[in-house]
């Protein structure tokens, strides 16, 4: 009985205390509440400090892991480039992409190269032309040049702002679009043609576009990799576009002409890569190319002309056989 009375006394006492507290005025109630909150304050500060530390640690960890991933990505990209380079070197040894003079490629080419192709339909010729100086042009425009009745009228002088004027025109077989070279370097292409003169669109002029091939300088010969489009910027440099992001490009790479119907055994040189950047998530490289030829000192160019092969014209037809 004693233990039973002892068991209900504490609950009864605390129930009475609780009921008494419910009747407490607002001010003492608030004082008690504030006391509890004040007592909890150090613990709350500790939790906030811990939370800050954990957040900082997580950020550091995530940034570290991001950095690791970035380094890993760069290493992988370098490896991909190295493999692509090796692949490009091997590709140069296959028959389809062989370089002239490569004995292994000649062996692999087999019978395909032994079949005689006959005379080509077109033959090419290089027409050497001089670039007219400003004084000559001014004299021509002023009518101070004696033409001895040859018809050197002012209207026959073809001029274009920013384009050099050549001293050969339609009379020498020049036509619009013909490529012009300076040695083995690309100078540009003919843009306008007159009877006696023509204008040259330099490869740095805005509007110039040409197929191009990238090549790494090799020991014996350049190793061609990927293709792109060379465009004039209107500045002293050209832009190489449409080179895919998977290609291996580096500063110092050479840029040559591309195209199937090249009349030369060796591609012509556009210039050298001076800047190559691959922006994040970009599908193509951003490449700037310095032209191989010195535009300021350019005095003469050779224009490539194509004419119908006279041997093909003289070949007897099937009926005559």
């Amino acid at each position: 009985m004693a233990s039973a009375s002892a068991s209900w006394k504490p609950p009864a006492v605390f129930l009475l205390i609780g009921l008494g507290l419910t009747q407490l005025p607002l001010r003492p109630s608030e004082a008690i509440r504030n006391g509890v909150f004040d007592a909890a304050r150090p613990g709350q500060l500790l939790v906030v400090a811990l939370d800050d530390r954990i957040t900082t640690w997580r950020q550091q960890r995530s940034s570290t892991s991001d950095q690791d991933r970035r380094q890993e990505l760069e290493a992988t990209q370098l490896e991909v480039r190295r493999l692509r380079l090796a692949n490009a070197r091997l590709a140069q040894r296959t028959p389809g992409r062989s370089l002239p003079g490569d004995p292994l490629a000649d062996d692999l080419a087999g019978d395909a190269t032994t079949v005689p192709l006959g005379p080509p339909l077109f033959v090419t010729d290089l027409v050497g032309t001089r670039i007219l100086g400003r004084e000559t042009i001014e004299a021509w425009q002023a009518g101070r040049i004696l033409d001895r009745g040859a018809g050197l009228a002012i209207d026959n002088l073809v001029l274009e702002p920013g384009h050099p004027t050549l001293d050969r025109g339609r009379d020498s077989g020049l036509a619009r679009g013909q490529p012009a070279y300076s040695g083995r370097r690309v100078a540009g292409r003919i843009s306008r043609v007159g009877r006696w003169t023509a204008t040259l669109q330099l490869l740095t002029n805005r509007g110039f576009r040409g197929l191009a091939r990238l090549a790494h300088p090799g020991q014996d010969h350049p190793v061609f990799t990927s293709q792109g489009m060379l465009e004039g910027t209107g500045d002293s440099l050209c832009r190489l576009t449409l080179v895919r992001e998977t290609a291996a490009v580096k500063v110092g790479d050479l840029v040559y002409t591309a195209g199937r119907d090249s009349q030369f055994p060796w591609p012509m040189l556009y210039g050298t890569v001076v800047r190559a950047e691959l922006p994040m998530e970009a599908p193509h490289w951003e490449i700037l190319v310095r032209p191989a030829m010195d535009i300021v000192r350019l005095e003469r160019v050779e224009v490539l002309t194509r004419v119908l092969n006279p041997r093909r014209v003289k070949t007897p037809g099937v009926l005559s056989q």
Binding site: I17, G18, L21
Partner: protein, 182 residues
């Protein structure tokens, strides 16, 4: 008197403080699916499990008063009265048998939270509105919300108790001397 009783009460005091801090810092931040954890009632369930007789009532009164202070609205003493009433009505208080099983402790926590929170919120809301409107409008919502909180809290408590006992068992095996063999 058990030698470990003062240590036990000191531990419960520390647990009560941690519960107050957690109730004001972590519980409002972590509310999965709208449910919230009630650390104070976890502490009370543990007190019910580790103490006997009047000590349980004292801890119920202390933790109930702390809960009253943290609620911020309504009169002081309501949660105190409810907590004392509930722990007094628990079978363990009448049978004087301590809770051993983790499931029993979690069940006590569930009962405490559903009862105390439901009634406390109901009464506090009823102080501003008419009683009949309160019963029809807010009682189911309050009970459902309290049940959600109770399930989450008791589940968490169950995990804590299991982890604690597993750790103690592992330590016990490590510290026990190797039995002699013939």
């Amino acid at each position: 008197m058990n030698v470990f009783s003062p240590m036990r009460h000191l531990g419960l005091l520390a647990l009560a403080y941690v519960a107050v801090v957690a109730e004001t810092t972590l519980a409002p931040e972590w509310q999965p699916a709208g449910m919230s954890v009630r650390p104070l009632w976890i502490a009370l369930a543990i007190a019910v499990a580790v103490c006997e007789g009047g000590a349980v009532v004292v801890w119920a009164a202390v933790l109930g008063l702390l809960s009253d202070c943290l609620r911020g609205s309504g009169p002081l003493g309501l949660d105190l009265v409810l907590a004392v009433a509930v722990v007094t009505c628990l079978p363990s208080a009448w049978t004087r048998r301590r809770l051993r099983s983790a499931h029993q402790i979690a069940l006590v926590a569930l009962l405490l939270i559903v009862t105390i929170d439901s009634v406390s919120q109901q009464v506090r809301a009823g102080l501003d509105e008419s009683f009949s409107l309160l019963l029809t409008a807010s009682l189911p919502a309050i009970v459902i919300a309290s049940l959600g909180d109770a399930l989450l809290t008791s589940g968490l408590l169950l995990l804590v108790v299991w982890t604690w006992r597993a750790t103690l068992n592992s330590l016990g095996r490590l510290l026990l001397p190797t039995p002699l063999t013939s």
